[in-house]
Symmetry: C2
Subunit: 139 residues, 2 copies
C-alpha cells in the first residue's frame, strides 16, 4: 500500500485521517479524478471530511510533486497520482475518457532554440485527442 503516506511522513506532514483518506483515494485507482470526485470518494470513508481539506491536501500534494494537476479542458482540474512516471495523456473527444500514454522521444527536443524566444524551457505536456473504441462505433 501507500508508500505515498511514508513519503509524506518523511516530509514532516502530520498524518491526519483526512490526509490518509485523500492519499488512499488517489493511490487506490490510478485514474484522473476531479477534486469533487476525490471528495466524493473520500466522504465514503470519512463522512465529515470537508471540501476545503480535500482542496488543501490536493494542493499540497501537487506542490511537493506527488500528484500532477492536469488541465485537459476548461472545466475542473484533474489530479494524476502517477507523477513519478513520465507520461502524456490521450483523451476521448466523445466521452472524456483519459488514458496515460508513452510517446517515443523527448518532446522538448522538437523545439528548436530559435523557437524558444529566450525562455528557459523546462517541460512539455502533450494532450492527444481522438475517439475511444466505443465512441468510434457511434456518430
Amino acid at each position: 500500500m501507500s508508500d505515498l503516506l511514508e513519503r509524506l511522513r518523511g516530509r514532516g506532514w502530520r498524518l491526519t485521517s483526512q490526509r490518509r483518506v485523500v492519499a488512499e483515494v488517489l493511490d487506490g485507482e490510478h485514474v484522473h479524478l476531479t477534486a469533487d470526485e476525490v471528495h466524493a470518494r473520500a466522504v465514503e470513508r470519512l463522512p465529515e471530511i470537508s471540501r476545503a481539506t480535500v482542496y488543501n491536501t490536493l494542493g499540497e500534494l501537487v506542490c511537493i510533486g506527488e500528484v500532477l494537476e492536469v488541465a485537459t479542458d476548461g472545466r475542473a482540474k484533474r489530479y494524476d497520482p502517477n507523477a513519478h512516471h513520465a507520461h502524456q495523456h490521450l483523451i476521448c473527444s466523445g466521452c472524456g475518457a483519459i488514458r496515460d500514454v508513452h510517446p517515443l522521444g523527448d518532446p522538448l527536443a522538437a523545439l528548436p532554440e530559435a523557437e524558444r524566444f529566450g525562455f528557459t524551457v523546462s517541460g512539455a505536456e502533450i494532450t492527444y485527442r481522438g475517439l475511444c473504441p466505443q465512441c468510434s462505433n457511434r456518430p
Copy 2:
C-alpha cells in the same frame, strides 16, 4: 480587414454588430484572450454588448473551427484566433505569458500504435512550460 467576417457570412451567420465586434477583437491582436478580456475589449467599441453574447459567439467560432480554445491552466479558457496555422504554446510559469511556437515534426508520429489503445487519434496539443527572459532574471 476581416476575411473572418466574410467566412462567417459565407456560413449563413447573421452579421450583427456584436459578432462583428467580437471577430474584430480576436482578429485585431493575435494574443490569447480570456472570454472576459474579449468582453472588456468588445465593450470599448459596443458598450451594451453582454457577456452572454460574447460567450455565445466565442463558442460558435470554436465550433466551426475559426478559433481554438486553449486550456492552459485550470482557470479561464483562452481563445486563440490563429486556428488556421498549426502551432503549439509556450507558457511562462512565472507570469503566465503565452507564445505561439512551432516545434519540428509531427507530434502524432511519436505515439506508436501500441500506445493508442484502439483510439482513433486525430490531434495533439503541446504545452511547453518554462520561464520567460524577464522571469528568469528574478527568483
